[in-house]
Structures are given as C-alpha cells and as structure tokens.
Amino acid sequence: MYTSHGMEAIAVGYASALERDDVIAPFHRDMGAFLIRGFTPGEILAQYLGKRTGPSKGKDGNVHMGDLKRGMISFVSHLADNLPVATGIALAFKIRGERRVAFTGTGDGGTSRGDFHEAMNFAAVRKLPVVIFCNNNQYAYSTPQRLQMAIHDVADRAKAYGMPGEIVDGNDVAAVYVASNRAIARARAGEGPTFLEFKTMRMHGHSEHDPAKYVPHELLEEWKKKDPILKAEQLLIQLGYGDAAYFQEIGERVKKEVEAGVEFAEQSPLPEGPEVLEGVFAEEANRY
C-alpha cells in the first residue's frame, strides 16, 4: 500500500483545479484525486481487498484503478509509463478541437525514465493541452534525489523541452491549486504544456512494509511541521472558513464514511476463479 501521507495537498490541489471532463493520469500517491472524482471509500477499499465491487473487479490491486467515465486513467507501476499516454489523451483533445486538458505526473525518480522525456518532448513539440507534474518527495523508494539526477530542481528539466517549469510548495494546497489553475488555463488556451515541480516529502516508506530507515530522522521532523493538512486547516481558519470544531466534525464524518466503506468492502463478494479468463480482449471500443 502506497500512502499519500505528507503529500495530500498535491492531488487535492490539482484535481480541484480541473473541470469534470478533463482527464487525470495520476501518480500512485494521488488518492485525493480519486476521491474528488467520486470514487467512494467503499469501492476503493473493495479494490484493495481484491473484491468484485472494486473498479478493477479484482483484476488489479491497490491504487491501480481507473474509470474513463470519471476521467481517471489507471496507474501503471512502470513509473512514467502513463506520461506518453496522457500526451495522447491531450492529442485526441487537440485533434477534435475540444477544450479539455490532460493532467499527469510522476515522482522525482520517474523523471529518470525515457518515457518522461519522450512525453515532455512530444507534448512541447505539438503544443498539447497537458500539464505534467513531478511530486518531488526527495526519495525514489530508498534512492535520494542526489543519486537520481545531478540537478537540484527537477523543474530545470522543462527548459530543455521548451516549456515553462515552475517550482511550487507541494505542501501548500492553495499554492498547488493556483499553480495548477494557471497551467491548466494555459493548456486550455492552446499555449501548450507546463511542467510543475511540487516540492514535498514522503513521510512514510515507499510502501507500508518499508520502515524507510534510510531517511534521516531530522529531515522527517523538519517536514512534520509542514504537514499539508494542518497547513490547510490553519489557512482556512485564518480566512474564516471554519474553526477547530468544524474540522473535528469533518474528521468524524470522514471516519464514519470510511467505516461504512470498510463494511461495504468486507461484505462484497470476491471474484470467482474462472473470472480470470474474462476481459483479455475488448468486444467493443469505449464510448467516451
């Protein structure tokens, strides 16, 4: 299981800035995007338990879920594989003259892959309506950024492709929203792709089995203070949108929703063995 812990502001920020008919090819820590696109805790948990009621009906697990009707592309484990795919989604929008945008991204490690570079280049050459982000959480599994690349800011990569690259505080949901909004508007206006580097920190291991002892304790302590959810709450309180009691009430409501989701997922049926044979080939193309 790959958590978004410490990185929640990114998916929530960018997914909030998109229109409903825009398409997201998310990163594997972008649970917020799924929730915003209407995936319920029940179906998400059913997916994690391999139940038939999950979006992939048990064919795939954890965050590898998608739904074209809700504009969510299923994540592929080979990091950056979905970046070229997102450029093609944007290409379809451009060919058909639609004002829709594709939004996709990968981690700092993912920007080492050829598919990242091929997608950045193609998007820029054809001025495609796509926004590509990097959630720079400083570690790709155990490998620190300094062993991944010889540059300090991933955003520098954008210049080589002739597209703007912007550094954004990835722990500030408002900053993510504003930067995403700007990039989306640019894409929608036909001005081409933008690259956004969301600086952040992965507060858990790569996945939950990984205690991440390779991350210095002080670094985690430093970033703990920048927790994106606390930061968002403080901002909203400051702006007068709510008080502590209001956020406590939200917390309780979420807890109830998740508990109902757990119940739904646990009671959902597992697929039958022979269902393994279904769906290798499509009988008809998507109507989307």
Binding site: N82, P84, T87, G88, I95, D115, E118, N121, F281
Partner: protein, 332 residues
C-alpha cells in the same frame, strides 16, 4: 468501360494494398489517424503514406519525434479517448523501443480496468532484403507471449488490405506485421468494393492431402513454391497460411493436420521459442492420435539476422529445406 473501372482492375502490389487500406479507412472514418517517423512530408521510409499529408493534413498524419515508446504511448491515450491511431514503426526492429508500452500498457489495459485500446501498430518485418541485424528482424515471437494483443501477418495483397481494415476496426491493440520482402514483389487485382479479412481466420492457400505445412508471411510463398516441386514427386502438400497469429485459428490448423496426419511448421523467426514451437505443442496435445510422423520445424538458426548475402541465404529457410523435410515425412 469507364477509366475508373480500368484502374480498379489493375494489379496492385502488396505495398499499394496497405496504402489503399489506410487511405480508404481514413476516408471512411475521421477518427482514424496516422503517427510515425517520416510518414508525412517524406511519405514513410517505404512510401506507404506518400501524399497522405497533403490529403489529410498534419493532425491526421503526424510526423513524430524519434521516440517509439513516446508515440506508441500517445497512440494508446488517443485510442482510449475514442480515436483510431495507426502507428508506423519504420522497421519492425525498432518496436523493441516501445516494448514496455505495448506489453505493459496496451496489452493489459482492458483486462486491468476495462478501457479498450483500439490501436494498430504496423511493423515492416522480415529478411531477404540484406538489411542486417537491425532491419530484418521478425519480432512477433516477443508479442505472441503477451496476452491482450492481436497479431496478424498477411502474405498477399488481398489479405494485406483486408486484414489492415479489420485491424483498424478492431477494438483491441493489433500488431500488423507486413513483410518488406513482399512489398513490391507480389501483385494482385483486388475487389473494388470494401472488404475485410477477419482476424482469427487462417487460409488454406493450397489444398493437399499428404502433408500440412503451416506458415505465415513471406514464407507462404516459399511453401507454395516447394509444393510445386513436391507435386512432381507425387507429394501433395497443403499450405496453411495462418494470417493471424493471435488469436490462432486452431480449427483450421487441426482440421488440416487431421486430414494429412503430417505437419511441418515453417517460419522466418528463429527456431527456439518461436510460434512453430507453440503450434507443435498444440498438435502434440490435440492431434497426437492422428499423427503419422514427427512434427517438423523449419526456421532460421538462433542467431541475429546477418547482413552479407551468403550468410543471409544460409540463415533463411529455402525451398530445398521444405522439400527435404517433406520427403522425410512422406517416408513415414
């Protein structure tokens, strides 16, 4: 007779048949568009898409950067959004650069989450043209083992046109292996009306009673040539052209072998782990009780495709290889 009818009755090459299929499908369906290296202004390395850029414009005939993984990935995305991309590999050999996108993204997409990928990748493959190790390859074996892909490999202009149209209309990723050696060497008069050759149907190119030779691509013509030689010796060989590699037409394969009781598998891809190995295993499982001799394979050795003429001639299967194998089998 009108000028148009006269033109329609003219013979077209295998290459022209492919070009016609693309042109007609693009005219029929505005969702169909092309992507690849040098396919626009230059008309493609083999000139399959000559004139297409002028006719359909730069957003339906896209010259791409030199990045196979990138543009195959883009085709997958466009296909999911409802378009019908047809991607050209300049040479089938370069498909290895897009291996990950094809096998991990395209092939698994519908199975994993129900999103169809109606996409065609055209891959000019095969030897006999002195192309050497990077311009002669038969990479179909790699994809034969990846569930979720359809694989076709036509041997005639008729099949080339009909299978390409079927591939474009299919809701799945289809790898279309077109044989470079056949491009300008074979001709046929094609029907003037729209037609398809269904994916998943083999074709008996020559009926015979004594031995079945099961093959595809350029090797079909080699088999037909060998059948003529064998006919003079009183050996009646049936030539089964697979046309589609995935899904295999097992019914036609088994039907032929049950009739003749003897099978030779012929292909241009190297021997170990090739498509012939799989068909041999299927025949052993399903047709064992009707076999009157060993299942034989004719395929190149396990080496890269060499450049120099004597090396490539030694490498590729020959009529004499088929005749020799058939004589051996006929003795059983």
């Amino acid at each position: 007779m009108t000028t148009e009818t006269v033109q329609r009755q003219q013979e077209v090459t295998y290459l022209e048949a492919i070009s016609q299929a693309l042109d007609e499908e693009m005219t029929r369906d505005e969702r169909v568009f092309l992507m690849g290296e040098d396919i626009g202004t230059y008309g493609g390395a083999f000139k399959i898409t000559e004139g297409f850029l002028q006719k359909y414009g730069e957003w339906r005939v896209l010259d791409t950067p030199l990045a196979e993984s990138g543009f195959v990935g883009a085709a997958i995305g466009a296909a999911m959004m409802g378009l019908r991309p047809v991607v050209e590999m300049q040479f089938a050999d370069f498909i290895s650069c897009a291996f990950d996108q094809i096998t991990e993204v395209a092939a698994k997409n519908h199975y994993r989450w129900g999103a169809a990928v109606p996409m065609v990748i055209r891959a000019p493959f095969g030897g006999g043209v002195h192309g050497g190790p990077f311009h002669s390859e038969c990479p179909e074996g790699w994809f034969f083992h990846s569930p979720g892909l359809k694989l076709v490999a036509p041997s005639t202009p008729y099949d080339a046109k009909g299978l390409l149209k079927a591939a474009i209309r299919d809701p799945n990723p289809v790898l279309y292996f077109e044989h470079k050696f056949l491009y300008r060497r074979i001709k046929a008069v094609l029907p003037s009306e729209d037609y398809i050759v269904p994916i998943g149907k083999a074709d008996v190119k020559r009926a015979g009673n004594d031995i079945s030779i099961i093959t595809y691509g350029a090797m079909v013509h080699l088999a037909l040539e060998a059948a003529q030689v064998l006919e003079k010796e009183g050996i009646d060989m049936e030539v089964v052209d697979l046309r589609t590699l995935i899904p295999l037409d097992k019914e036609t394969i088994y039907g032929s072998v049950r009739k003749t009781s003897k099978a030779i598998l012929l292909h241009e891809d190297n021997k170990t782990g090739g498509i012939g190995a799989e068909i041999a295993a299927l025949l052993a499982e399903e047709c064992f009780d009707c076999l009157d001799g060993p299942i034989l394979r004719i395929a190149p050795p396990d080496t890269p495709v060499p450049f120099s003429t004597p090396l490539e001639e030694y490498f590729l299967p020959k009529v004499s290889d088929i005749v020799g194998a058939a004589r051996k089998l006929a003795a059983y």
